[in-house]
Amino acid sequence: MSDMHYTLGSDQSLAWKQINCFPPGGYGYAEPGIYATDAAECAAYNVVKSFYQIYPEVWNIDYVAKETGLKEEDIAKRLRRLYDEHLIMFVMNPNVGVYGWGLYYWVVKLKEGTDPKVKEEFIKWYQNKDDICTGYLTEGDFDFFNGDHMRVLDNLLSDVIGPWKNHPAVDHVHLCPIRGDVRESMVNQWHVPEDKYRNFVISDELRQKFLKAQTKIDKDDFAIIEALNSTKSIADMFNFAKLEELSGLDGEQMKKDIIEVVDKRKLMILQIYINYRALGLSLQMYLVRMFQNVPSYRKQEIVSEFMNMPEFVDIFQFGDSFYDCLLSCYAEINDIDAIRKKLENYAEIEEVWVANSKRQFRRWTARLDDENGYWEECVMTDDFLQDWTDPNSVRCPFCKEAEEDK
C-alpha cells in the first residue's frame, strides 16, 4: 500500500490533483481524513444541536451582544423564542462530495390538470420518505424539487424515484446531480472562492424588505441570526465554556476540533436555518437550463456571477442534467419578474422554469413538518454497501418504509 494519504487540503492531496489533472468533487467520492458526524471531532456541533432548544447560552452571546448592541439576556430570550416558535433551526450541511455521497436533486412535473388530491398523495410520500433528505413543494412550471444524498445512483432510481415514476399523473422527473453547492439558506457553501466561504448573504435593501414582509422576526432577531451566521471563524458561533459545562467534554478541545472540521478542512458547515414557511414567506425558484453547447467554463462563469447576487437564498449548480442550476429568492421581497428577465438576458440561457415554494419538507435529514409532529426529527439514511434494486436485499433501518407506514 502507498504511504500517501491524500488527506483533504494537504499538500499531498493538492499535488496529486495537479499531476492527475482530476479534481475529485463530483459525485460520491469518499476522501481520506473525513470525520463521521458523531465523531469526537464534531462534538461541538452535536452538543449545540442537542442543547440549543433549551439552553440558548450555547451560542456565543457575548459576541452577538458586541455585534448587535443588544443585551445578553435579551439575546438569549429572543433565541429561545425563535426556536420555540420554530422559526429557526440549527442545521448542518456535510460536504457530501467528500463524504462519499452524491447529492442528487430531482425535479418533478405533474401533468396539467392533476387532481389536487393526487398531488397530496405525492406530498405525503415525499414528506415521509426518509431517504429524501431535502425537498420542496412547489407550484408553477414544476411541482417538486427534492434531493437525496446517495452513494449509488441506481439505488435512487429504483427505490426513491421508481415507486412513482410511472404514476399516470407524472409528466416527467429529471435528475439534477449537484456539481456545485454554492449557497444554501443564505449561507455560502463550498463551491465559492475562499473569501466567500460561509458568508451570510443579504443586502441592506433586502434586509429591510425582509423585516417588513413578515412579522415574526424583527430587526433585532434578524441581527442575532445574522451575527451567528456571519462569524469569521466557526469558533465564534459557540460558547465553549457552556458546551463544556453541559457535556463534560473539554471545551478547548471541542473548539480546536470544530475549527479544523469547518474552517480548515471544510467538511461541514453549521448554520442557522430560517424557516420561511413559518414566517409566511415563499421561495421563488428558477430552474435554469443553458444551451448544451455552452462551454463548461462559461457555465461556471455565469454561476459565479449569480454568486454575487445577494437576492439568491439558494444556488445549486448541476452537472449531467437537463438543467444547469437552481436559484431561489424570497418571493415577497424581490421583484421576481425582474429576476427572471435578468436571467433571460443571458444569451447562454435557453430556458428558465419558475415555480414558487411555500413549504420545505426537510432541511438535510431534519424534518420540518410541524403538522405531523416531527419538527427537527433527524433521520439519517445511507445506502452504503446496499443494493436497493434487489427488493430482498438488506437495508438500513430508515431506508425501508416510511415511519407513518409502519
Binding site: 442537542s50 433549551i54 453541559l246 457535556s247
Partner: protein, 470 residues
C-alpha cells in the same frame, strides 16, 4: 469506579430500577426504529403499569405521550430515569436528575470509558456518588422482571418467570439469555445489564438479588471485576447459589473486554479468578451453555445431601455417557448395591430380564411408563439415595409424554424429601416438548447426558460449599 463495599443506599434504590412507579425516558424518540422509541414501546408492549414520561426537547408528543423538554419539567416524582441519549448529553441530564431527586438512573449510552473517555465517566460517576444517585451503566441494554411485566431497554424479549437472577455485563449475552428464556423455558426473576458498571457494581446487585423473594439463584456474567473484595463480601452475605462465568482471559480477549465494557483485565489471570470465586462461594462455569444449565438447576432444585446419585434410563448408551462424565467432573457414581443393598432387588421388578440394576440403572428400551414409575419411586424413596437423574431415550415403544407426566407426578409427590431430580431427554421433537414441560414444572431437563451431569454436579458442589460454610 471501585466500590469498596456494597453500599446500602444503592442496594435499597435498586428496587426503583426493577420496580419503578414512574420512569423518565430521556431521548424518547418519535421514530419507531430509534432506541428511544423502543424503550417506551417495550414498556408499553410488555404491560408496564407505572407512568412513562418521554423527555425530548424537540417533540411535543412521543409514542402518543406528552414529551417534556427536560427531566426537571416533569410534574411528578420520578423513580427511574432511563437515558438513551448521546454521551455528550448525559452530564446535563444527570444534573437535572439530581435536581429532580430521581431515585436511580440507568444510562444505555455508549462512548464513555470504552472509547477512551474514562475521565468523563469517572467525573459523572463521582457526581452521582456525591449526590447519592445510583447510576447503572453506562453502555448497557436495560433491565426488567417478568414478575412485574417490566422490560426497560431496547430488549426484544421478556423472559418467562423463574428462579434465576441474570446479572450480565454484556448486553448481547443478556439478550441471548432472554431469548433462550422464552425458547427454552429458562425462567428468570429479574435481569440486568451492567455495561461499564461505572457506579453500581456486581456486588450491589448480588446483595439485592439475595434479598429478592423471586430470586433463588444468581447467574453472573463477568468481563472484569473492579473490586474483587467487594464481590466476595457480597456473595458471602447471600444464602443462595451463585453461578459465574468470567470472560476476557485470553490474550486478545483482554483487549476485547476493554473495548466492549472498559473492563480491565491486565495483570489478572484465570487462577486468580478461580480463587475469587472459591472465596465467594460461587460456582464457575466455563461455557455459556454450562452457565445456563447450571443456573437453572441451582434455581430449581435443592443440593443433594451426598453423592449417592441414582440414574435411571431406558438407554444404556445415555447411561454410559453419564457415568463417564460424572467421573470426569470428579463425582464418580456408585453402584446401586453400594448405595443401598436392597435397592437393586426392588428395582429389578420394574425391568425386563435383560435390564441392568447397576448404576446407571438400565430399565431397557422397552420400558413402559409403569416401569419408569416403579423404578423412580423405589429410588427416590430410598433414604440412602441423595438424588435422581432420569433419562428418556425414545424407542418406537417409548411413550415420552406419559413418562414425562409420571416424572412430574413423582417429583411433586416427593418434593418434600429435598432430593434433586434432574432429567435428560435425548431425541427429537417429543423430547424437546418433554424438556419444556419438565422445566415448566420445576424439573431441570436437558437434551444431553453431559448437560444433565453438569447440573447435578453443580448442585452437589453447592451442597458441599454450604456445608463448608457452616
Amino acid at each position: 469506579m471501585r466500590v469498596e463495599h456494597p453500599r446500602e443506599y444503592v442496594i435499597n434504590n435498586l428496587q426503583y430500577a426493577l420496580n419503578p412507579k414512574s420512569i423518565a425516558v430521556v431521548g424518547g424518540s418519535r421514530y419507531s426504529t430509534k432506541v428511544g422509541y423502543k424503550v417506551i414501546d417495550g414498556l408499553q408492549t410488555w404491560g408496564y403499569q407505572g407512568k412513562i414520561y418521554p423527555v425530548n426537547p424537540r417533540a411535543d408528543l412521543v409514542a402518543g405521550r406528552k414529551a417534556y423538554k427536560t427531566v426537571k419539567d416533569i410534574p411528578d416524582e420520578i423513580d427511574l430515569a432511563f437515558l438513551a441519549v448521546p454521551a455528550h448529553i448525559v452530564k446535563s441530564v444527570l444534573e437535572d436528575c439530581v435536581a429532580k431527586k430521581v431515585k436511580i438512573v440507568v444510562i444505555a449510552t455508549s462512548a464513555f470509558k470504552e472509547i477512551g473517555r474514562g475521565k468523563l465517566q469517572d467525573e459523572l460517576t463521582q457526581y452521582c456518588r456525591d449526590n447519592k444517585l445510583p447510576l447503572i451503566g453506562p453502555n448497557l441494554v436495560g433491565m426488567g422482571s417478568p414478575y412485574l411485566n417490566f422490560n426497560c431497554g431496547f430488549i426484544p424479549y421478556l423472559p418467562i418467570k423463574g428462579p434465576v437472577a441474570m446479572i450480565s455485563q454484556s448486553g448481547a449475552n443478556l439478550l441471548a439469555a432472554l431469548g433462550t428464556s422464552q425458547k427454552d423455558h429458562f425462567g428468570m426473576s429479574f435481569f440486568v445489564g451492567l455495561g461499564n458498571k461505572a457506579d453500581v457494581d456486581f456486588c450491589e446487585f448480588v446483595a439485592y438479588a439475595g434479598r429478592d423473594e423471586h430470586s433463588k439463584c444468581l447467574a453472573i456474567y463477568i468481563e472484569g471485576l473492579d473490586c474483587p473484595e467487594a464481590f466476595i463480601e457480597a456473595c458471602q452475605s447471600v444464602d443462595k447459589p451463585i453461578v459465574t462465568i468470567k470472560v476476557g482471559g485470553s490474550k486478545i480477549g483482554e483487549k476485547a473486554a476493554f473495548a466492549h465494557t472498559a473492563s480491565e483485565n491486565a495483570g489478572t489471570n484465570d487462577a486468580m479468578y478461580d480463587e475469587i470465586f472459591e472465596k465467594a462461594g460461587a460456582i464457575r462455569a466455563t461455557t455459556w451453555q454450562e452457565f445456563l444449565d447450571v443456573s437453572m438447576a441451582l434455581g430449581m432444585q435443592p443440593a443433594p445431601k451426598g453423592d449417592n446419585i441414582v440414574m435411571i434410563t431406558n438407554g444404556g448408551g445415555s447411561g454410559l455417557l453419564s457415568c463417564d462424565h460424572f467421573e470426569r467432573v470428579g463425582m464418580p457414581m456408585h453402584e446401586l448395591v453400594e448405595i443401598s443393598p436392597s435397592l437393586p432387588g426392588r428395582i429389578r421388578a420394574y425391568m425386563p430380564m435383560f435390564g441392568s440394576p447397576l448404576n446407571p440403572v438400565d430399565i431397557s428400551g422397552t420400558a413402559s411408563p409403569v416401569q419408569y414409575k416403579g423404578a423412580f419411586t423405589q429410588a427416590i424413596r430410598d433414604p440412602n439415595v441423595h438424588g435422581i437423574l432420569g433419562s428418556i431415550c425414545p424407542t418406537a415403544v417409548t411413550d415420552v409424554p406419559a413418562v414425562t407426566d409420571i416424572v412430574i407426578n413423582i417429583y411433586d409427590t416427593y418434593k418434600h424429601l429435598g432430593k434433586p431430580f434432574i432429567m435428560e431427554c435425548q431425541g427429537g421433537e417429543e423430547c424437546q416438548e418433554a424438556i419444556m414441560k419438565l422445566r415448566d414444572h420445576g424439573i431441570p431437563a436437558y437434551p444431553t447426558a453431559e448437560q444433565a451431569v453438569n447440573a447435578m454436579h453443580a448442585l452437589y458442589k453447592y451442597g458441599q460449599m454450604k456445608n463448608k460454610k457452616k
